[in-house]
């Protein structure tokens, strides 16, 4: 039977079948006999465990543009966004403003601003009339390097 996958639910183990699980305490394989030390392999390092604190509240987005360059966020990067966190002053957030989703640093004082981290861009000033919604707080940046 042909089956078309609609996709893996990303909660909470985001990086699935191809995820690299690195044994913390691996033993060499002795052919023919199971290693007696096998029982001591307790766990593997899981990138999800490392990055994702709230799986049901975590989403990924992809960066388009260079407005956060100086914060080490470049176009094409994948950001891990935690919706469960309440944004604080200085957090890098995903904000919904003027119908767009944007990644900026949130400043709460002295004025509420969405601050880009690139001198070529101006801060977005949040006024009484602006409809600002914080989608979530960015907790990790994921960048894969293309091999030449």
């Amino acid at each position: 039977m042909r089956v078309t996958y609609l996709g893996v639910t990303e909660s909470p183990s985001f990086i699935t079948p191809n995820s690299v699980r690195i044994p913390l305490y691996a033993e060499g394989v002795s052919a023919g006999f199971p290693s007696p030390a096998q029982d001591f392999v307790e766990r593997t390092l899981d990138l999800n465990e490392f990055c994702v604190s709230h799986p049901t509240a975590s989403f990924f987005v992809r960066v388009q543009g260079d407005s956060m360059m100086d914060a080490g966020i470049f176009t094409g990067d994948v950001l891990l966004v935690d919706k469960s966190l309440t944004a604080r002053h200085g957090d890098i957030v995903i904000a919904c403003i003027h119908g767009e989703m944007t990644v900026k640093t949130l400043e709460l004082h002295p004025n509420v601003l969405l601050q880009p981290r690139n001198r070529a861009y101006k801060a977005i000033v949040i006024t009484e009339e602006s409809e600002l919604e914080i989608f979530g707080v960015v907790t990790s940046v994921i960048r894969k390097y293309e091999r030449g």
């Binding site: 039977m1 042909r2 089956v3 078309t4 996958y5 609609l6 996709g7 893996v8 639910t9 990303e10 909660s11 909470p12 183990s13 699935t16 079948p17 766990r43 593997t44 465990e49 709230h54 799986p55 049901t56 509240a57 989403f59 990924f60 987005v61 992809r62 960066v63 388009q64 543009g65 407005s67 994948v78 950001l79 919706k83 469960s84 995903i94 919904c96 403003i97 119908g99 767009e100 989703m101 944007t102 990644v103 409809e131 919604e133 989608f135």
Partner: protein, 423 residues
């Protein structure tokens, strides 16, 4: 002990999912279309305000779409299943027992919870958490029976002053609400029954609650008698683990003990698949989308957690247990990860179709299931013999059969290539 149920229901679920990654559509009317973009199956609150009716064919509202700038989406099951799974997982973390009633509704058994926390506060906390963590807004209705919880939820949505949470534990409040509710809006009262009831002078839910249960039973049914008792605060419907609905069938259960053995977990998934398939045939429907989920228990502190779900779309709608078993097994192999103590597994069937008429004419002379099964096994035998090939005409003669989905949104949460871009 006084039973307590809560119904958590996502507001305009499909439409809300579509809006989650589209802040530009925040105040824009949005509708979601059925299979092949035929009819409206979900509406945002703006679309409801424009008077767009549920189930209306797309072509009938072409003018309104133009005039009001209504945005249409094809059903994006990958997105809805993912967000539903998140919502349900949170409910399961918060409530002692949960019955996933449909893709966007769940009953929680809150019996005994009031000893620890005020029920209204509890409801508000759950709502706040789901709203914030997933971006999906829910309403919560709390009452001594499921039928009353449904009504409480209805009120939570209808009256904004409630803040989306209604505690209907007090008999006085129950009476006041029941007097306001049309009898046709009571859970389990269909249009035909409500017409008959109204002819007898039973117009509101309160009228029905005051009716004589015995008389209702003899004139109508045991089911309606149960509704009368439920409206009076006597719980007759327990939390169920299998429940078919119009749009999807969910079959899931928490295990008696934590399951670590892959084979055992696989067998559980197979069992739920079989039961879900039986329900599907009982509803005389075919399904095309199958979801399998497995979860560890969120209640054991310090234990590694795993909650995974995966949906698959079949090339053709089916009600054959064997087709479904094959798919759920493939999905299971994809999502299973060793090293966790699983507490729950489940299967959800969605994207339903009516049984095709030509299938009934040619291959299903009666709705008798055993006959259909016998036929399918013969078909399989022929196909496996290598001597010939028999297939259902509904599959078409070209191998790729695809449905019309012109307005499909990206699978924002389930495909790397479909992630939402941020500036």
């Amino acid at each position: 002990m006084q039973t307590v149920f809560a119904l958590a229901d996502c507001n305009n679920f499909y439409a809300s999912c579509e809006k989650l990654f589209r802040p530009d559509l925040k105040h824009v009317p949005v509708v979601v279309l059925s299979n092949n973009d035929g009819c409206v199956v979900a509406r945002s609150k703006e679309a409801k305000a424009l008077g767009i009716k549920m189930g209306v064919p797309l072509f009938q509202i072409k003018d309104q779409i133009q005039q009001h700038g209504i945005v249409c989406f094809s059903s994006n099951y990958a997105l809805y299943a993912d967000l539903s799974n998140r919502v349900m997982t949170i409910l399961e973390e918060e409530a002692p027992r949960v019955e996933v009633y449909s893709i966007d509704e769940a009953f929680m058994d809150l019996t005994g919870v009031s000893h620890a926390v005020d029920l209204l506060t509890f409801g508000q906390q759950v709502k706040a958490k789901v709203d914030k963590w997933t971006g999906i807004t829910i309403g919560v209705g709390i009452a001594p029976t499921k039928t009353l919880a449904k009504l409480a939820n209805h009120a939570a949505k209808k009256y904004p002053a409630t803040g989306g949470v209604v505690d209907l534990m007090s008999p006085d409040r129950q009476k006041r609400l029941l007097a306001l509710v049309d009898v046709g809006d009571v859970w389990g009262v269909g249009r035909r029954i409500s017409t008959r009831l109204k002819e007898q002078g039973i117009h509101t839910a309160l009228d029905l609650a005051r009716a004589n249960p015995k008389a209702i039973r003899s004139e109508y049914s045991v089911v309606l008698e149960r509704t009368v008792r439920e409206l009076n605060g006597t719980s007759c419907l327990e939390l169920e683990t299998v429940r078919p609905t119009k749009q999807q069938i969910v079959c899931s259960r928490s295990f008696g003990h934590k399951v670590t053995d892959k084979q055992e977990l696989r067998e559980a998934v197979a069992k739920y698949t079989t039961r879900a398939a039986e329900k599907l045939r009982g509803e005389q429907r075919l399904c095309r989308v199958v979801t399998v989920f497995i979860r560890t228990s969120p209640f054991i502190p310090g234990e590694p957690q795993c909650s995974k779900a995966l949906s698959a779309e079949l090339p053709n709608p089916t009600d054959d247990t064997r087709d479904l078993l094959e798919v759920t097994n493939v999905i299971f192999q994809q999502i299973y990860r060793a090293g966790f103590r699983y507490a729950k597994a489940g299967v959800m069937l969605a994207d339903f179709y009516e049984q095709g008429t030509f299938q009934e004419d040619l291959f299903r002379p009666s709705t008798n299931r055993t006959q259909s099964k016998a036929l399918m096994s013969v078909v399989d035998k022929i196909n496996h013999s290598g001597l010939g090939n028999v297939f259902f005409a509904s599959q078409g003669t070209s191998p790729t059969w695809s449905m019309k989905r012109e307005h499909l949104s990206p699978a924002y949460t389930t495909r790397w290539g479909d992630l939402r871009g941020v500036l």
